[in-house]
Symmetry: C2
Subunit: 198 residues, 2 copies
DNA sequence: GTATTATATATGTAAAGTCATATATTAACG
DNA sequence: CGTTAATATATGACTTTACATATATAATAC
């Protein structure tokens, strides 16, 4: 399971609590390629501790709730490396909005344009977020190497979001064009069409 | 649930069996934005029949196993339209390979390059598949309208795959560059760097 | 002749992900 | 002064997805 291995990887950077994994790592650093909810993270940590891949130390705090800081173990590092060497399948893609677009002929123009506008907002926000991530260069070649890979993962996020924004613009244009065609008399479409196959 | 609504939509095109939904619709027409396995489709159809959104008629065949053809009902159409009007969240993205890239500093160059090459093959195959989908124009304006939307869903698939291929090329270049830097003496990286923030 | 592929439906089970809620304390907001 | 947000962990219940397997027949491949 990649969630487990994402956590193992994150704990190689620094020991963390479940809360920090959620708020700092999953919701920020790696949100563009792996999302996990809080319940999942805590349960994964428990399972990983049972496996011996992580260990936790309870840090007592007076003013705030106690922290359970998780550390990766040697067995955890081994498992991470084993997994990093395995070949991973392409991501499965399930996008409800594309289901809607596929059947959008059932909808009126205004509704479709509204859906497109909402998606546009979401993708624009994602793009802005990815573009705001600045991964500075570093003198230490090991740290620099690490950051090169981090930067690459952000770059694909940016590229995909840009592709979506361009495509959504095109969607809008196509929908407006279809709308105009409909308001014209239908018999305008009867000129011969040689490229039609059926 | 979008799977249910994808099926409802597909059944508006033509009545189908679970087998046809799987082999023709999910594995071909809409594979680039919604994947479902056979077990899921059959169980969804059962649930939808109980809901009254679809009805089935058993077609007896002598030479082949009997077919259970599903038809969308009026209630199913209503549910489809209700759902088509709802706003859908952006797709969640979980990509195991990007987890590997994020932690790829733990891997040797050869392994990373191999992973990149495998992903490249997969994305190239997807792109080739999407580009092979030809949605011809049509005289009937209603059919033409439908196909415009189908075409749009293919276009985003093509755009995303192209973005991935470009990015994978860039990944390869970056990895090779890092590899060359490592084989050089480390003290070459000690010249002052004013853009580093930490 | 035997094995595999295609057609066709179905269930058992497990893994993964989502949603709601519980607990407990402090800080900030209006 | 009361409510909300932030910090911090945890569980119950459910939905969704994945994987394996069972059944049955015909056609095709080797």
């Amino acid at each position: 399971m990649s969630l487990t291995h994402a956590i193992l990887g994150l704990l190689t950077i620094t020991p963390m609590t479940g809360y920090e994994l959620k708020t700092q790592a999953f919701d920020n650093s790696i949100a563009h390629f792996w999302q996990a909810d809080q319940a999942q993270i805590y349960r994964a940590l428990s399972a990983m501790a049972e496996q011996g891949w992580v260990e936790s130390r309870l840090e007592i705090q007076e003013d705030r709730p106690n922290r359970k800081v998780y550390y990766i173990t040697e067995a955890g590092r081994e498992e991470l490396h084993r997994w990093l060497h395995t070949e991973q399948p392409l991501p499965v893609h399930r996008e409800p909005f594309l289901v809607q677009m596929f059947f959008a002929s059932e909808l009126d123009t205004a509704t479709i344009l509204n859906h497109i506008a909402r998606q546009r907002e979401g993708h624009a926000a994602r793009l802005a977020h990815y573009e705001s991530i600045e991964i500075s260069v570093h003198d230490d070649p090991e740290i620099a190497r690490k950051r090169s890979f981090w930067r690459l993962t952000v770059e694909i996020g940016v590229a995909v979001e840009r592709a979506y924004l361009e495509w959504l613009d095109r969607c809008e244009a196509v929908v407006r064009e279809l709308d105009q065609l409909e308001s014209q008399p239908h018999d305008q479409a009867t000129f011969p069409n040689t490229s039609a196959t059926d």
